[in-house]
Symmetry: C2
Subunit: 664 residues, 2 copies
């Protein structure tokens, strides 16, 4: 090593090598592959490349190993304050052997940890990146095109080669260059196409992550570089006016040729309106948004793309496209930056959509060694099972009962809906909670707290708790029969019902219990089918995704046998896993690569063609029992004995109860 070559080590990456005296830390880092962020390309503008002098193990600190701060640093008034002891890697040069510590906020591929329902770490590495460049001014001697000089600057200053440029952007090049006095910031998508240009230095690129559900559409506005969520907004899916649940919307299209165009138009309009809300809340402009990600179930996925979803309604349930789709955002009517792109995550199978793919990305069953069961329940339950070695996916036709549909007093989860239910094991008296109030129905002030909404019905989580509690209280047998004699149990001669709220006339009827049984049997059979394929008898952890997973008490889901027996401590809600996955794809290029690979690797099991599925389905109708296949559950919950409960006294006729209920 010559006198003017020094040893340089970067932490935490561990990259090391030698560098000549006088070379900037940023240049050495690039040379050695150490990860230091920069937007301005080493011009002392953006302040993203801040580093500190670290300690080499067993060696004293060497404060003189870097050049003394020169004017760039002492006068620095850039975008990010220069914290004490920190140096600008683009200005400080090597003067001796040195260890350079790159703090988290100066790393390009830093992780952010998002605290929502649960902790998910996202590697920030956006598909759209900003690059500040100084473009050569044209002269009469060298009057190459503006585009050519921009591409040359990107190559020489950022090592970006062979870039294309969005046609919509061609008209912007000249004015930006001239207003910026030949210094501009450009946005580059996937390191292969220039999608935006602004005069001078620019540090902000935004993106929107959508989760297009059949009931609600949620959108988050994020800073692509920091991962910060600047604003969030949600809206009811306006397609609801064409049909409450998915299949009724597909029916609408079948009955009204061209109806898919209406469904497409309203969902796109709602998505665009959300952008308006987001930019207003964050005080930014639509043009600041450069990238958009979208997840949704297969039917939403198709409708957003303008594809007729009716083939998804009949066997063999073939998707038009299951591959990830990258397109111009304007193609689906989103008014963002003209060079803004849209990315739809891949679908996994005919009924396992981009929402499930996003949930996989978020929950990462493919990244772990334990057998994870990931379930997202809607009109169909999307089920993913497995671990790093092997992942399986299937969809079970649960129907809409879990969403409160096809239930006598059922309704969507909305203020006024009963969402929690407890039945006293002895008196069989109920108490409950209603969405919109924090009080239980037997607590003081409850009536006041629900004055606005009243008690309007029972939502998905409410009916599940009701049926599970009635089972635990012995009102419902393992086979799902409501029986016994009690003031709250009314009979019409053939079947009995349980009166949950006599004032609001809310009953749990025998058909209600049957609907829940059918739904839970479908889900459970799907899970068991995948467990059979995977060759496991138990699962190590269970993640319940989506609105259903957020609202349901996992204990009751286990009591009813929606999901297999598992240590309840390892059964949890995955929150809005699809939305989180959408955001991960927005913020991380490698997340896109990852889910595209995983989506093709997942083994798709079609429940409709599995003879075994019907068997599993029939045997899953019964409710789990203490002596049964549920050891974990039995250890935590007092399951009723096998024999049906003894008859109780105090029954009354259905006629009476109904009359009372209706009269109030």
């Amino acid at each position: 090593m010559s006198d003017t070559e020094f040893r340089v080590t970067f932490t935490p990456s561990g990259r090391r090598g030698t560098a000549a005296a006088g070379v900037t830390v940023l240049d050495v880092a690039r040379e050695l592959g150490a990860d230091i962020d920069s937007v301005c390309g080493g011009r002392g503008i953006c302040g993203r490349c801040q580093v500190t002098v670290g300690s080499a193990p067993g060696k004293p600190d060497s404060p003189d190993a870097l050049s003394a701060p020169g004017p760039t640093e002492t006068d620095y008034r850039g975008k990010r304050p220069l914290v004490a002891d920190r140096r600008l890697a683009c200005a400080a040069t090597i003067c001796g052997d040195v260890v350079i510590d790159v703090p988290l906020d100066s790393q390009v591929h830093r992780q952010i940890v998002r605290k929502r329902a649960e902790v998910v770490a996202i590697d920030i590495d956006p598909v759209v990146k900003l690059h500040y460049i100084e473009v050569a001014e044209p002269t009469l001697e060298d009057a190459g095109s503006d585009l050519g000089r921009i591409l040359a600057a990107l190559e020489s200053q950022w090592s970006l080669r062979g870039l294309a440029v969005d046609t919509a952007l061609l008209a912007e090049l000249q004015p930006a260059l001239r207003r910026g006095s030949w210094d501009v910031t450009v946005a580059v998508h996937s390191e292969n196409i220039v999608t935006g240009i602004w005069p001078g230095f620019r540090d902000q690129a935004l993106g929107v992550a959508y989760d297009v559900g059949s009931t609600t559409i949620a959108a988050h506005l994020c800073d692509l570089a920091s991962g910060d969520v600047l604003a969030s907004a949600g809206v009811m899916n306006p397609q609801i006016r064409f049909g409450e649940d998915l299949m009724s919307r597909v029916s609408y299209v079948m009955m009204n040729p061209g109806g898919e165009r209406q469904l497409t138009a309203v969902v796109r309009e709602a998505m665009d309106d959300l952008i308006g809300e987001l930019v207003e809340e964050a005080g930014v402009a639509r043009d600041d948004i450069l990238d958009v990600t979208v997840v949704g179930n297969p039917i939403m996925h198709h409708l957003v793309l303008g594809i007729d979803p009716t083939p998804l309604g009949t066997a063999p349930f073939a998707l038009a496209v299951d591959e990830a789709v990258t397109a111009s955002a304007s193609q689906i009517g989103l008014e963002i930056h003209p060079g803004g792109y849209l990315y739809l995550l891949p679908c996994i199978a005919g009924h396992v959509g981009a929402d499930a793919a996003a949930a996989v990305l978020s929950e990462g069953p493919h990244r772990g060694d334990v057998v994870q069961l990931l379930v997202d329940v809607g009109t169909n339950a999307e089920i993913v099972l497995g671990s790093a070695g092997r992942l399986l996916a299937a969809s079970s036709p649960t129907g809409p009962a879990f969403e409160g549909a096809q239930i006598s007093s059922g309704q969507r989860a909305a203020p006024g809906a009963i969402e929690r239910v407890r039945i006293d094991r002895e008196s069989l008296e109920p108490r409950y909670r209603v969405i919109g109030s924090d009080l239980w129905s037997d607590e003081a002030g409850f009536a006041d707290s629900i004055k606005k909404t009243g008690v309007t019905g029972i939502c998905g989580s409410g009916i599940i708790e009701a049926v599970a509690e009635l089972y635990l209280a012995g009102v419902i047998s393992r086979d799902g029969v409501i029986g016994g004699e009690h003031l709250r149990i009314i009979a019409d001669g053939r079947t009995s019902s349980y009166v949950l709220d006599e004032n609001a006339s809310i009953l749990v009827t025998q058909p209600d219990v049957r609907a829940i049984q059918l739904a839970k049997a479908a889900l459970y059979a799907g899970v068991k089918l995948l467990m059979g394929y995977l060759g496991v008898d138990t699962v190590d952890e269970i993640r319940l995704a989506g609105a259903f997973g957020s609202h349901i008490d996992t204990k009751y889901a286990t009591v009813l046998g929606l999901i297999p027996d598992c240590d309840l401590a390892r059964v949890s809600s995955a929150g809005n896993a699809a939305g989180t996955g959408s955001m991960m794809a927005l913020l991380s290029r490698s997340a896109r690569t990852e889910i595209e690979r995983v989506a093709t690797e997942i083994e798709k099991i079609e429940t409709a063609t599995e003879a075994q599925f019907q068997e599993l389905f029939v045997s899953a109708m019964a409710i789990p029992h203490a002596t049964d296949e549920f050891p974990f559950l039995a250890s935590e919950v007092a399951l009723p004995p096998i024999q049906p409960p003894p008859l109780r006294t105090g029954g009354r006729t259905a006629r009476r109860a109904r009359t009372r209920g209706n009269a109030q």
Copy 2:
């Protein structure tokens, strides 16, 4: 070689090799790289793969070398009649050693020869190709996406790998597959993206080649596979209402911020209207058009793309983009197939546009060994000089005089304009021809033949002939001074004018001659500048492109010294070379590659910065002379002596002539 391997030779390609008995001729051709066309992929539908059994030199014909025609051939009722002795390469199989002749119309890369003003050979190899595929039907066991199964079919049946698909097309996949019972034809652009899909077999893909001139916009509708021109249409460039010539339109934009958007809107609308005319004339649909090419001068090029052209009006004349541009046709408002593309040829330099690039493609100076001078005269003259080894390009500021502007009686070439002029060498009496009539003005019936239009002015070619004839008749001196005494020469005390038509009051004034001298000096100086750079004293051939080149008599162009001395037999019009180049780019992928390469290789000379240019310009003001640098010219035309002509008698005053002219 085993008993079941035979020798197969293809002519005219000369490809040879061995093939197993029973293999189809088409498969052998693909294996050996012999060029046989097919759209249906060997299914006996399209009839494009017809071949004949040829003769091997020194060997007898071997009629049994191919299998006897089976049902596919005997029952063939496909798209193209099966000519006598011809076989379908996809049906006939190898039974012995054989020579297979592939006729011209069965070759993929066949040439078509277009007979217009001159003969240009175009290799047909369109960027957009149709491929018929049989797609696997989805089943419950294998319900991959429609897109996935289409891409798999393209890979297995056409060896096309890794294709993308136009997002706009995603909604079309399912209906096309279902209507076509899983057999569809797809359009593939550049072998990398699927841009169209139709149920069943389809054989027609159309394209439009535009030539967007500042005065007129021309468009040709072509069959992309055969190269046939199905319809042609033209329209005045509606930008004319913003300014007759290019620079006045640029001025309009400078004076009216945002005016470029108006200019862009009207030119795009006119281009789209032309498509309406073309499809109506040819009886086809807009959706049948899959590809579009556009050429134009730099200002038209920028305006079509929506780019503000004003920077082109001032030094350093930098283009926003000079690279070839490929974009969705819908981005510039052309209503063709939703997956239709647009290709703009590259520009060469600030004032040497995509029209010049197209002319280069058409005239091919870079393909020959002789030094070719290619000139396209508009407001600027675009000049290309050189041969295969080295090409140079420059633009000379000729101004609009050659287009009839800035001439006292000048007008655009239109009915009523004088376009041909002869001056009797002795009597100095003129005769002329007018656009719209085939008769000379001294022929019987002339007055009747122009009754509709009258004589309205003099166009570019007319003023050039007038000045040249006046020079040859001795009325104008080498220095461009109108002199002498004659009834047709009138003087106002300072300068003289020649009366070309006393009734229509059409004069050739001294300023007119000066305007022509300035224009021709600019052009000639530009040519001489390039000749100096190339190190040649003479050029081998001269091609005059564009409307100017078509209308001008090359002899007069040489007499006036617009172009250097050259064997007049090798000076010719290139016709609408730009339009031909546009069509070549439409029909040939390799033509696009070729001109993109050549455009970057051409050396650009900026006349504005060349001190030498001013010198050349000044010395080019004089009109060529017999003792001068024009030996070829002097041998063919009787040039006047150096001395100015003797005074003639019979002059009259300008006042009288003007009064007469105005009175009628």
